[in-house]
Symmetry: C2
Subunit: 175 residues, 2 copies
């Protein structure tokens, strides 16, 4: 796969900021494996407080329970790194923060030996909810056993997903 | 002021990771203005899940209320960007996540015109709680009307504060 560069990232973030500001819509994030990298990137844009509500980085089981009210039982069937869990976290965060758009991310950055999941390293799942409900579920497999590269790839995928879907939705609603 | 470089940042993060792993202690973060940059930096270290519990990025008043249970009334007297509010957020997050160490950050990144606070741009307040309670309150004023530079400086101050205090505490407890 082609790894993203920081210029693409900044372009996507500006697209997201402009689309949300134009539509007077808001965004919230749950970042299980990138742990705040997305919130930090989104708020690089001046005036982000007009549309970025905030987010959580529920890195541990304890945090998933305390911040989202999701006990380990909630993840027992599919595992915390799964499409089902991404969707569940997005739904809970949306109910809490009431943002128009909510993105949840859950993945395995690696390296090998630091986790006990059955999933392949470099796998990440996203669930994006928009004003009308679920917009898209997305899966990425980098195939890399490289924590830094996986974190960059997960972040790049997150902003690309937001930029594509939010700007498309805003265009449609303007037509 | 001297602006931090990314190498200092990585050194501090490794110091934090080693000290927490050695002491079998945990850390949680609340990032009001850097919105996840600290969680993202801390979890660059492989194996961070052993000691990083997670965090919140309560960027808006809505998020402060929904994630920390702190209504605008809680900030009415001192403002959300104040030493008192940093301490309050650290205390609430500590009660929620039960980490040995909890750092809360609240600041004004700017640029001018994007906020309505009476505080000077480039001002940030930290409150760090440790195993025995309040460890340190810290204030930084960069004097800069430069959002990117302020975000970098706030992040650098956060990791320096953690590295200094956690490694010192671990040394003392080993003596």
């Amino acid at each position: 796969m082609t790894l993203p560069d920081s210029q693409d990232l900044a372009v996507h973030v500006r697209t997201i900021a402009q689309a949300l500001a134009d539509a007077h819509q808001t965004l919230a994030t749950a970042e299980c494996s990138i742990a705040g990298a997305l919130g930090a990137a989104l708020t690089d844009v001046p005036g982000a407080s007009a549309w970025y509500v905030g987010g959580v980085a529920p890195y541990s089981a304890r945090a998933k329970e305390a911040l989202l009210g999701l006990s380990p039982d909630a993840f027992a069937r599919h595992g915390a790194v799964s499409p089902e869990s991404a969707l569940l976290m997005a739904q809970v965060l949306r109910a809490k923060l009431g943002a128009d758009w909510t993105l949840a991310e859950t993945g395995l950055t690696g390296p090998r030996g630091t986790h006990r999941s059955a999933k392949e390293l470099g796998t990440v799942y996203f669930a994006l909810l928009g004003p009308g409900g679920l917009v898209v579920e997305h899966e990425l497999r980098t195939g890399l056993d490289d924590r830094a590269a996986n974190k960059r790839a997960f972040l790049a995928a997150a902003v690309a997903l937001l930029a594509g879907n939010i700007s498309k939705s805003v265009e449609i609603s303007v037509l």
